[in-house]
Amino acid sequence: MSTPHGAAAPAEADHQEERAARVAQPPTGRRLGIQRYAILIVFAALVAAFGAAIPSTFLTIGNLSNILGGQAVLFILVMAVLLPTVMGDFVDLSLGSSLGISAMTLAVLNVQHHTNVVLACLAGIGAALVVGLVNVFFVVYFDNDPFIVTLGTMTIVQGIIYIISGDNSVGIVSTNLSNWIFTNNFLSIPLEFYYGLAIFLVVWYVLSFTPVGQKALVIGQSREVARLSGVRVNRQRSWAFILAAGIAGIAGIAYAGTNGTVDPTAGSSLILPAYAAVFLGVTAIKPGRINPLGALIAVYFLATGTAGLELLGTQAYIQQIFYGAALVAAITIPKATRDRFFKRKRSA
């Protein structure tokens, strides 16, 4: 029987460190290169396979429009999910209900109270922002675990959605909104895709091409290094929660415009696919890093897969299996590649 204080002795860090890393070689460009584009290769294979199987329905403008437009709500939500995640706050479960409360606020105001649709949209986004502020207060200010806090706020907000909707679907929202989001299109693709693309471009630019984004990355990678380098860690984390909630609010508007009718459970079915896309995106373009471009590819990889399966005539539950499998793959693939990397380091 070994006692915990009997055998546990601090490892000889110095020696190990020197030994392990004396001639450590950083990963070569080629290895990273293959990993970087692995998902694109799988994506291309998927398109080729569906294209070969059902060319008449899969390889059409209609299908492209369906894939790009049909997933715009999810895509916008993914950009929201990305922000806290980049900064190491790995879960904001409440973003799904932020989407929901935004959509429901809009629908209730517009349909039941005949509020001007623009004002209703702003009110919806405002409601989502309140959720973000509450998260900031409890997660950042009181330094709580984001998983637990957002589990709580998610449930509370979901309850509020049931109250204001009377547990019913609310519709139909102004056709003006539907027109500007879903019905009107540019190059045969619904406008909402371009809204999502615009949000993506802003998020991508900020995270990849500004010092703010670089600092966010450091916060996510090692919060203590960021703090001791003078980064305002908590301020940036706060902004991430608030902006994420705001973007989720915009996703809620897009949801309402796309569906016309808002279901009380709108957001909860979207939040897990959004996380699946973010984590799958970690394997692409900048492996090991949460990055917007990877997430973009991942969203449309998943969308293409489900669309193809749908066209093949599979049941909805087969598509669910595809999504679930992708989620598991999303969390396993980065780990597997990282472990391989560590093995290399040890043998060096």
């Binding site: 002795a9 860090a13 003078g230």
Partner: protein, 555 residues
Amino acid sequence: MEQASAPPAVELRQISKVFGSNRALDRVDLRIGQGEVVGLLGQNGSGKSTLVKVLAGVYDPEPGGRLFVGGEEIPLPLAPGQASEIGLSFVYQNLALAAGLSVLENLTLGQRIGGGARAWAPINWRREHRSAAAVLDRYQVGLDLDRQTGDLAPVDQARLAIVRAAEDLRRYRARSGSEHSVLVLDEPTVFLPEEEVDRLFDLIRTVVAEGAAVLFISHDLAAVRAITDRVVVLRDGRVVAEEATADIHEHELVDLIVGAQARLAESAAPEIAPVEDVRAVEETLAAMEAAGTGGAPEQGENVAVGHLTDERLHDLSFEIGPGEILGVAGLIGSGAEELPYLLFGARQAIGGTLRLGTETLDVAGLTPQRSVRERIALVPADRAVQGLSQGLTLWENIVMLVEDEHYQRGIFRRGELVELAREAIDRFLIRPPLPHAVASTFSGGNQQKALLAKWLIARPRLLLLHEPTQGVDVGARRDIYRFVKSAAALHRMAVLWVTTEFGELAEVCDRVIVLTQGRQTATLTGEDLNEEAISAAALRQTRPAGPGQQERDDS
């Protein structure tokens, strides 16, 4: 004494341990008699911890060493965990207590680990509670069994850990019917306020009365003299002295530990520097010189710390001149290790001022953001967690502090930044010179150079270094000394260098102050600035006896 005839509780003979070319232990003999308290003394790197780890089964000693427990030979090496089966129990400095569990749970933790059928036996908490209360009674330690362990005072945590270890030994004696057992205490007094050490000693005496022998490892000479029967001094892996505590004076002990004569001969040994790098260093220094003087203040600034106070530091004041490298020496627990973090605002001080040139900052209100703005730099000891972001690339780490300057009109000049990093990699001799490689793939020495580069390219006015050569190979160590020295000279930058490697301080610093118990107790410059003097100053005045008594009452 009676134990002269009985076999010693533990006897080690001819124990050696070699790491690469370094002989950490050289034919060490150590005897601990039954009911005896033996002090094991020595500087950092003298082999104390290596010896403990051999006893604990963490390291395998070289063949030829022998171990006897109660007169019976136990084959070496020991398997990990075997130590507890032969009557050895260890309490390390970190105590190995689960802070979130109750006192009761920590006390019984050892019995829960192991598995087998007993792992499924139901726990009768009321009975556990009663027997644990009896254990605490036996050692006369009054603790609330339901308190969360993390809420206890440090001394009570130490006492709990010792009780737990002593109880393991008592159970071992009851189980095996043998009379010998040894409690090994590795630096148990380091973080304890002086007035509380006595309570720990009472406990140790009780443990001895119960029948265990004690090996007491410490830097703290006053503590060693108060509690031990006999002392063994290790230096460079060899036993240099073994004396009854009562027969030896403190200054003799210091001389034995520091080894004044022996050291002088050794320091004449040639310094090791990697041949290929010598020229590179010269070129780098020349380049720094050429590029350097531009934006630097001609005069440099005086840095003055005034009345700095926190839990461990008492009203500390000192100055650092422009271009001066000030070393701060102190054993663990002296407060020296707090200093860089307090002056950077990484930890909150209770009070004090920091004057940079004409500007005076309140240290208690200092934040890392403010410090970075004031161009104070902190190179922390914990490189992996606080220094470099291990998952980011080398270039991203190096330019972290200056990237804002390369974002103009909405364009992030990434190319410029990579180029800047590449230049720093060249200058600071970081190998391999790959800016896009991930930080964790570099060796300790190269990571440390990168960390230094990160702060030095931001042109600090005050550079705070904590253990800057920890886990760094000899070549990189030399490079780091030279980079800091030349940066201090070129930019007239003030440097505060805190480390427990006193030889390093003697080599790089212009002046060294010694802290003991949170107070400045010595200043060394010029002729007096050598490793032995620093060690002696740090050791000697650890716990003032006699005349110091009054001072203790004041605090």
